[in-house]
Symmetry: C2
Subunit: 219 residues, 2 copies
């Protein structure tokens, strides 16, 4: 039989390329994710990747989609406050799974269909809670900003490192020029990362939205 002994050329799919890119991003960070490195890891020539994606930007869009697709299922049990709480905590968990990706997403509008499922779920909860369209849109934007901001500025891998750095930085300040920071040095360091700080902020936001709903309901 004359079957070909040489395997047919790699013959990747765009999905395989994107998921290899996500894996490389998670493993070695954003700086390591270059077209040359990725092609090397896939065992193909660099320019082969341009057969699947027109540019690195297009590849990054696909990587974002691949990560967002891992989303956990959402159950709409409980009060709107409980639902919003669970949705945002789940979103933070998803984003934290791929810390390198948050920087990528800050560069492009979070408007791909997969990402907008998050908006759809959030807007549905807020509208059912009684917010009008304008308030629901602004409330969603507030929650979105908080979750994405938290993951951008309080990463939870290296949380201990962040606390140590904060402790060292505040300890080095002249106490007379920075009395309030100096006095709360330990508490500020503790609040630099972790889910307690995230939950505290999320609960204050939900309380503030609840107050808004009461005022709007009376009007």
């Amino acid at each position: 039989m004359a079957t070909t002994q040489t395997r047919p050329r790699a013959s990747l799919s765009p999905e395989q390329v994107a998921s290899a890119a996500l894996e490389l991003l998670d493993r070695e960070g954003l700086d390591a994710l270059s077209m040359r490195r990725l092609a090397g890891e896939l065992g193909v020539g660099t320019m082969t990747l341009y057969g699947y994606f027109r540019s690195k930007d297009e590849l990054l869009d696909a990587v974002v989609d691949a990560a967002v697709a891992e989303r956990e299922p959402f159950s709409s049990d409980g009060t709107w406050q409980e639902q919003i709480r669970r949705l945002m905590q789940g979103s933070r968990r998803n984003l934290s799974r791929h810390p390198g990706l948050v920087k990528v997403r800050a560069d492009r509008p979070v408007l791909r269909p997969e990402a907008l499922r998050f908006a759809e779920t959030g807007m549905t909860i807020l509208r059912r809670a009684g917010f009008d369209r304008t308030d629901a849109a602004r409330a969603f934007r507030l929650l979105f900003t908080y979750v994405f901001g938290y993951v951008s500025f309080s990463p939870d891998e290296r949380a201990d490192q962040a606390r140590r750095d904060a402790r060292a930085a505040t300890a080095a300040l002249p106490p007379d020029e920075y009395p309030s920071v100096h006095e709360a040095s330990a508490e500020l360091a503790e609040a630099m990362a972790g889910h307690e700080t995230f939950d505290f902020g999320l609960d204050r936001i939900i309380d503030g939205l609840e107050a808004r709903l009461r005022v709007a309901g009376r009007a």
Copy 2:
């Protein structure tokens, strides 16, 4: 007279290099800020810059300091709510003046002495308002996250572009799969940027903190 006709070599200061870098960053964005470009604009060899800063990272730290130093004076008139509101609005204005810098700051802890003046002012207001050290630290972190998150994900130059992109993205979705987003398409687009959306979120956060203070005060 035998005065030297050739000007003494450029003889820059680190501050001059940092402020030229900030100017280049504002003018052409983060990608344009390379050691080679910057040296070229200053009319010196690339390696000359390494006499002022040991690395590009160290230069970027100095650029952040230069931008933060432009901070507006802060007056402590009014209630704590009014003070927090003014402080955060001022911080957003400062950050918006140098949009390219927000990405830089997401990569490094916001812990330089100049940046911690913002924390000092915020913590002083919150402590005077009656928050204990733990709550004040978490409340400050919430406010910080919101302001930095907002500037990262809702830039206000190209606000109209962001709204148009959002409008196009939501209009392209199947209405039956995305009913809530589709229904509030106009409101979501409007809420993608601008100071109304920022102020709405900030006011909800302040209301939520106020509620917390009432509960803590009763305990």
